[in-house]
Amino acid sequence: MNALRAFLPARAVLHEEEDTRPYECDGLTAYRQLPMVVALPETEEQVQRVLQACAALGVPVVPRGAGTGLSGGALPPGDGVLLSMAKFMRVLRVDPRARVAIVQPGVRNAVISEVAAPFGLFYAPDPSSQIACTIGGNVSENSGGVHCLKYGLTLHNVLRLRGYTVEGEPIELGSEAPDAPGYDLLALAVGSEGMLMVVTEVAVKLLPLPQSARVIMASFDDVEKAGQAVAAVIAAGIIPAGLEMMDRPATHAVEQFVAAGYDLQAAAILLCESDGTPEEVDDEVARMMAVLAQAGAARMTVSRDEAERLRFWSGRKAAFPAVGRISPDYYCMDGTIPRKRLGEVLRFIAAMEKKYDLRCPNVFHAGDGNLHPLILFDANSAEELHRTELFAAEVLEKCVEVGGTITGEHGVGMEKINQMCVQFRPDELELFHSIKRVFDARGLLNPGKAVPTLARCAEYGRTRGRGVAAAHPELPRF
């Protein structure tokens, strides 16, 4: 703390419990840890000096954006510094000609589209948390959104990062020109969960705002039929701007909260969006409706105007907080599966609801196979939390078994670290550790997250007694 006080003003170094308490967890509130100290630098030079000071003392550092992460990525170190990037809130430049925005990492996702809008441009990745989460957090998690089937993830929309290694060396990865020379370190840094570098500046791509957009809400009397309808849309050669599914428990939770106008009779609804020129949209909506009808949609409603379109989406975007209203706590899973296995995985989740006696509504980025089952539980009951964790672990391992992954967009963090042992073999985990060492030889930046030690996996294998990849080399994981 003294080392930090040497160059940071007193207000930028927090250590009293009442001040550090708000930083004890991210959006995954089941995991909490008070940091030894919180640093709130305001300039790049201060970030560099925080890192240098920590490196000199051998103290761990954990970067944090808005703390909306759902995997414990920003869980503080009890014996180190929580490095909050919250003060880095400036949009440095919007260049409408180049269609690029240069922003500081603490800028909130939604702000980028707001500042780009006057130029007829927008920033495409739109996580449901977009009014709160920061671009620095998005970069570190490679966040997605409801429009990423067509417009890509954070990875596809970031051109360049500037920041520091844990030793405080400045680095710049990527470029506003295409194909920066050398290895694609930008791809490595995006989604690295704050473990390879601290990001202090981000150049993002802006896209022209589509002239118009309309969304179809289609009801199905059977969840699997809705899943098949998704495949049918894609088989027809259509890439919708958004393609989302919610099951009945999810729509019921949402409807009480935001009155989005969802069909509460349906076993599942699909939201299927088209954007482009008005003619293009009319044409595509007609084609989508034909395909959906053919696939057994019981009812369909098309948004008539922008207000209605936003209302249909508002329900989907509010799904997590809505579920938070009907249950003391919820646990959000994030597995991705090949879409054709959806029926099987949903049946499995239903069986787990019975096995663990817990309810689990489902929201689903249907277009790209990313599931968000939400287990409802009460964290005040340690026993219920334990059941929830076992439930989640079984679902994630099922995702791996069907050829998918344990996390599509929320990251591994602390939360899914055991399931990494199921998805990867020891040699692969070891390579991840070597990559980490290249950037951070002493393991000081966000230590202990995202990649389990082999010892941890061995222990997990013993306690679980099944499913660990090393024991199942025949499983198709790739």
Partner: protein
């Protein structure tokens, strides 16, 4: 089919400390620094592993012919959106990804690396490792498969890879306009900031070519906005494969800049692609001058084709970034036997 033969070969080479030159069809032998070492031919490890059009993912072995992959996609109304150059009939799927080159549509659809979803590799110790997967969203572990894209075989042998694919556009149409470079740059930027279905642009010698792809209605609206004369014989294949007369010159520089960069004042002819972000230069200009001009414009220059590569093929890296490169090379290939020097002479 197993990876065992590759693993044995690599383990053996690592033990003997002998360099291996990973090679598919050899169509990109010209690219990067002079290949050296014993040839490890990847072509026997071929075949499509899985392809389900509705999942939008194809997985193939490295030795699979790139044309074969494209043909199967086409039969199903899909395509590789980044339109990779082949540079010869023998181009392989693995070589395409290792080279990391993208074609005309990359500026609008995304580059090769944007479509990589997963890879199985054999590293420099002969270990078979898998990263990423066959699903569109996956953030478990560092994104090693994308790191491998464009690594020129220096980190590992790319044995299998999964790519995201997309439907082929319903309509496609190319327009030709006449204008000098400066106005062409300005026009390309103006169009790119509007919701137009641009799928390729190229300018050379006073002629600007613009391709529109997408729904019929969108293409029609685009034509009305852009004007120019529709072409029957579009130049895209000739540009992508560099069979266009412009590319016969040597040396050939590939200069990547932010698209808004002003015309580069360099001697020699230029051909522009990607809305102005890619500027090919055919000239025997001194390497230093080309690299400086590229850097001043916020980009970098690659000596794409040349007999004399002593000036270095790729733009030099900043010291910290160079250190990270050496570290990664050592992590994947500790003995340094995989395509040594192909990207940068020091690793």
């Amino acid at each position: 089919m197993t990876l065992e033969p590759f693993q044995t070969r690599i383990r053996d080479a690592a033990q003997r400390g002998v360099a291996l030159r990973l090679r598919g069809g050899g169509t990109k032998d010209f690219y990067g620094n002079e290949p050296r070492g014993e040839v490890l031919d990847t072509r026997a490890y071929a075949g499509i592993v899985s392809y389900e059009p509705t999942e939008l993912v194809i997985t193939a072995r490295c030795g699979t012919s790139l044309s074969e992959v494209e043909r199967i996609l086409e039969e199903n109304g899909q395509c590789l959106p980044f339109e990779p150059p082949h540079f010869g009939a023998g181009a392989t799927f693995g070589g395409c990804i290792a080279a990391g080159l993208s074609g005309p549509r990359a500026a609008s659809a995304g580059a090769l690396r944007d479509f990589v979803l997963g890879a199985r590799i054999v590293d420099g110790r002969g270990r078979a490792l898998g990263f990423g997967g066959q699903v569109i969203k996956n953030v478990a572990g560092y994104d090693v498969s994308r790191l491998l894209a464009g690594s020129l075989g220096t980190l590992g042998l790319l044995a299998e890879a999964s790519l995201k694919v997309l439907p082929r556009p319903a309509e496609q149409l190319t327009l030709r306009l006449e204008m000098p470079q400066e106005r062409a740059l300005e026009a390309m930027q103006r169009w790119a900031s509007q919701p137009l279905p641009l799928s390729a642009t190229a300018w050379h010698d006073g002629e600007l070519f613009v391709r529109l792809s997408g729904a019929a209605a969108a293409v029609r609206a685009g034509v009305a906005k852009i004007g120019g004369e529709p072409l029957d014989a579009a130049p895209w294949l000739a540009i992508r494969e560099q069979s266009h007369a412009f590319f016969s010159a040597s040396p050939l520089w590939r200069i990547a800049v932010p698209p808004v960069a002003a015309p580069l004042a360099l001697p020699g002819a230029q051909l522009l692609e990607w809305g102005g972000a890619l500027r090919w230069l055919a000239a025997a200009a001194p390497a230093g001058a080309v690299r400086d001009a590229a850097q001043r414009a916020g980009g970098h220059a690659t000596l794409f084709r040349a007999r004399d590569k002593s000036a270095g093929v790729f733009a030099p890296l900043a010291p910290t970034v160079a250190r990270l490169h050496r570290g990664l090379k050592a992590a994947f290939d500790p003995v340094g036997i995989l395509n040594p020097g192909r990207m940068y002479p020091e690793f």
